[in-house]
């Protein structure tokens, strides 16, 4: 049943220098999402409210915020998810430097992405040379396709406690970049070796598998199970498992050991 009446939107207003939550009353309409209510506040009561958004369809990853303390896309969070009598709190992503109101500076994510070596295609097979193009079979596409669903909303980076609470951005690239690395490392046509980087610079050992990144991902990418843990196991192959280390030593040049 449609819920009538007003909803109290408790929005964070302020800058890095300071601020507070401010309550706004918004007329509730059927099917309304949090971003609709925030837009209503911006249009009718607070023209100077800063909020980042683009597609309003859960695909651009711009309107990430913390709704009632939980990292969500505002455009994909319906108001009827919450108790109608309770105010809905909307706060900016806590992990990143605040610019103003609900807008944060997520530049660091792009800076760390730049440090990841891009795809380095290996030599073409005889068949590929004849056709003049790469060929990938469906079973090889399937696994990495999941990682390519990422919309870079950075909710996973926001909820990762290593980045959020400890601000250890110098030790860990975060779940988003782990997915980028997994996408490249598991690519059948890639010939670059990123395992030393994954262990050291990207800091995969800083993840303690608490799976909050997977929990908040709006694209339902199984970040931990399909991305981070497989990368950890590849690091184990190279640095901790004496059996695979010995096999590696006996087969020099074969970094992608089978």
């Amino acid at each position: 049943m449609a819920q009538r009446g007003n909803v109290t939107m408790r929005l964070w207003r302020g800058t890095a220098a300071g601020g507070q939550f401010v309550d706004y009353q918004v007329a509730r309409e059927e099917g309304m999402v949090v971003l609709d209510a925030v837009h209503a506040v911006q249009a009718q009561q607070a023209n100077d409210l800063s909020v980042r958004w683009n597609c309003k369809a859960g695909k651009c990853g711009s309107c990430s915020a913390e709704v009632n303390g939980y990292p969500r896309l505002m455009c994909m969070t319906r108001l009827d998810l919450f108790d109608p009598g309770e105010p809905i709190t909307v706060a900016p992503l806590k992990t990143f430097p605040l610019v103003k109101d609900l807008v944060t500076n997520v530049r660091w994510n792009f800076e760390s992405a730049k440090r990841i070596p891009p795809l380095k295609p290996g030599p073409l097979t005889a068949e590929e040379q004849r056709k003049g193009e790469f060929q990938m079979m469906q079973q090889d596409v399937d696994r990495i396709q999941e990682f390519r669903k990422c919309i870079e909303c950075f909710l996973c980076q926001d909820t990762c406690h290593v980045l959020r609470d400890a601000q250890d951005t110098d030790k860990f690239f975060g779940p988003r970049q782990m997915i980028r690395l997994a996408n490249l490392e598991m690519h059948p046509k890639d010939s670059a070796d990123r395992i030393p980087m994954i262990k050291k610079e990207a800091g995969v050992g800083m993840c303690n598998i608490t799976k909050c990144c997977t929990e908040v991902c709006p694209e339902h990418i199984r970040i931990t199970d399909n991305g981070i843990i497989p990368l950890k196991e590849r690091v184990v192959d190279r640095y901790y498992d004496p059996v695979t280390m010995l096999l590696n030593a006996l087969r020099p040049g074969n970094t992608k050991l089978r």
């Binding site: 939550f21 303390g69 090889d140 250890d168 199970d225 196991e233 184990v236």
Partner: protein, 256 residues
């Protein structure tokens, strides 16, 4: 219109208002309860066998292989004390249980977007926690123990009696080893070893075959948490059954 401002400090413990504390609390109760019970059973040193049934907490009995060990401790060594460290290490280094204990016991973090109680940040896999990288070796031991538990299940159905025995205990044992197998063969490390480490699943016949095995392990792995809890409780249930049977508190229901 804007109402009076609320002076809430941004950056406090959490802004979540749902029951985020429930899951860590249940994990503490579940793992803590099993930990206390199994510790008691390790030092109780009795009631591991009842008729055809050998409790998984005391199987296999390794005491005969290390008789010299008794000289080093002031208490009587039980079969559980010798065998339990291996499945314990398998579960302690398990990727699911890491989530469970880091959230519940270390509060790093207790729930998503909730600040932990500790003032120390997670330092990464260092010191004793480097053992977490050796999960695959504990997996190998867990598979060995699993083979023995399947043998114990065959014994529960009368393997050594010469005729089929069908009792409640047999079904409990069977359920337990099935759940343990689902947990063990859905292991993240196994998933990596059977095929996850490959980059190309179509390059040759070997990788095509490994892809199929990887798919099956992946299917089990999808609900690794469910298998982990179900198998933990089934071990608990089977051991309680054997213990109560041996004490004489209950009687086995025999169909054959």
């Amino acid at each position: 219109m804007a109402a009076a401002t609320q002076q809430l400090a941004w950056g406090r413990f959490t802004l979540r208002r749902d029951a985020w504390w429930l899951q860590p609390l249940l994990v503490i109760l579940g793992l803590g309860g099993f930990g206390l019970y199994s510790t008691y059973r390790v030092f109780e040193n009795a009631h591991y066998v009842a008729g055809l049934y050998q409790s998984p907490l005391g199987s296999p009995d390794l005491r005969g292989y290390v008789p010299w060990l008794q000289a080093f401790v002031p208490f009587t060594i039980s079969p559980a004390l010798l065998i339990l460290p291996f499945p314990l290490l398998f579960r302690l280094t398990c990727y699911y249980y890491r989530k469970a204990y880091y959230r519940s016991f270390f509060t790093m973090p207790p729930a998503c977007a909730v600040r932990g109680a500790s003032s120390h940040a997670y330092p990464g896999e260092r010191g004793i926690f480097l053992l977490q990288n050796l999960h695959r070796f504990f997996l190998y031991l867990a598979i060995l123990i699993l083979v023995i538990l399947w043998y114990d299940t065959a014994l529960a159905f009368g393997l050594e009696t010469g005729h089929l025995v069908v009792g409640l205990g047999g079904f409990l044992f069977l359920g337990n080893v099935i759940l343990l197998s689902g947990y063990t063969f859905g292991c993240h490390s196994l998933r990596h070893l059977v095929g996850g480490k490959l980059d190309c699943y179509s390059c040759d016949e070997g990788s095509k075959a490994r892809y199929k095995v990887w798919q099956r392990v992946s299917w089990l792995n999808t609900n690794h948490m469910g298998w982990a809890w179900a198998s933990l409780f089934s071990i608990w249930a089977v051991d309680l059954f054997v213990r109560f049977l041996d004490i004489g508190l209950i009687r086995d229901v025999r169909l054959l």
